[in-house]
Amino acid sequence: MKITQLVLLAALAAPAAHAVEYRTVLPKQSTIHFEFRQMGVPVKGGFKRFTTEMAFDPAKPEAARAQIEIDLASIDAGSPEADDESAGKLWFNRSAYPKATFVSSQVRALGNNRYEMRGTLTLKGKSREMTVSVTYVPGKNASIFDGSFVLKRLDFGIGEGMWADVSTVADEVQVRFRIAATGTY
């Protein structure tokens, strides 16, 4: 009788075995990059240290949530001079605002493993609503979440005073992140 019970249990559990919730982020395989134009020249940068908390079940995308906290001191702004400059009051004012955070508020499935994630980005004490497009790439070991959005640095007071001149450093900053995560079944 025991065996039939087990078989029965297994059969009942089988559909659930396909459900997965991604919660464990792999920091080494996750990246945040950005790109902006300086005198018409594309300049690439990124942040090396950030923590991500997330929960995503492909079967229930609207219940998904994500929270990213970035250590602004880990910036690569394109050159050592720019790294130093970015810490200052006119840019991130890092001693007062050492971190940037993004907290999701709503996720909408667009089909084809594409999602629209809304949330609040807080930088230099200013919070703005952002809409991030995210693509989910299921993988064997880890799955990948690729997101991108464009922010306007002046909305956050990033680059004040002389640096507010957008003909030298463009207002738009293209942000791209990749979060790798494993799930639990």
């Binding site: 300086q38 005198m39 300049v43 050159s79 720019a82 002389m162 030298t168």
Partner: protein
């Protein structure tokens, strides 16, 4: 002075255009490097790069023209060693005014900044971003530039000496003064 004593008009125009651009681009380079980071500094760096790439293109045209046209022969009475020296210095000047913008372009690539000529035409990055290589190429750029400065002083000094002290019509060879003069 017969026409054969003069460089061809394209050679003369290119000579002075390149000289003018270097006379602007060189001091600009020296001035901009020590500025604290600011939008103005970024602008000057771009202008410097645009001027430098323009020099590179003009020199490419100039060298091609030079290879297809024999320059006017030197006046009789110029010592053999001076003829030889002038050939060597002219060769080095051509090499430097090609190598200097080239080193600047490569330096910019290695430092992770693509060169976009006049903010419009992106030049390919021939090197990957590499901080050490970028710093090395900056030193190369600087050394080549100060070698150029030394040679230009020699070059200008020699031309002026022949013209004013030996009273040979040297400056006319490069288009200064009227064509018909005896």
């Amino acid at each position: 002075m017969s026409v054969a004593m003069r460089y061809s008009t394209p050679a003369i125009v290119l000579h002075w255009l390149v000289a003018l651009l270097i006379f602007v681009g060189f001091p600009l380079g020296v001035y901009m490097v020590d500025l604290p980071l600011s939008p103005d500094k970024l602008k000057l760096y771009s202008y410097h790069k645009w001027i430098g790439i323009t020099v590179f293109l003009l020199v490419a045209v100039r060298v091609s023209w030079r290879l297809m046209h024999t320059p006017p022969s030197l006046p009789a009475g110029i010592a053999v060693w001076q003829r030889r020296a002038s050939q060597i210095v002219h060769g080095l000047l051509y090499a430097l005014i090609l190598a200097i913008p080239l080193s600047g372009w490569l330096m910019s690539s290695a430092k992770g900044f693509q060169t976009v000529w006049f903010g419009v035409l992106p030049l390919p990055d021939l090197l990957e971003k590499n901080r050490e290589l970028g710093d090395l190429l900056a030193s190369v750029h600087k050394v080549l530039n100060f070698t150029l400065l030394g040679l230009v002083i020699l070059h200008v000094g020699a031309a002026l000496k022949h013209h004013f002290i030996e009273r040979q019509p040297f400056l006319q060879r490069m288009g200064w003064g009227r064509k018909e003069r005896t």
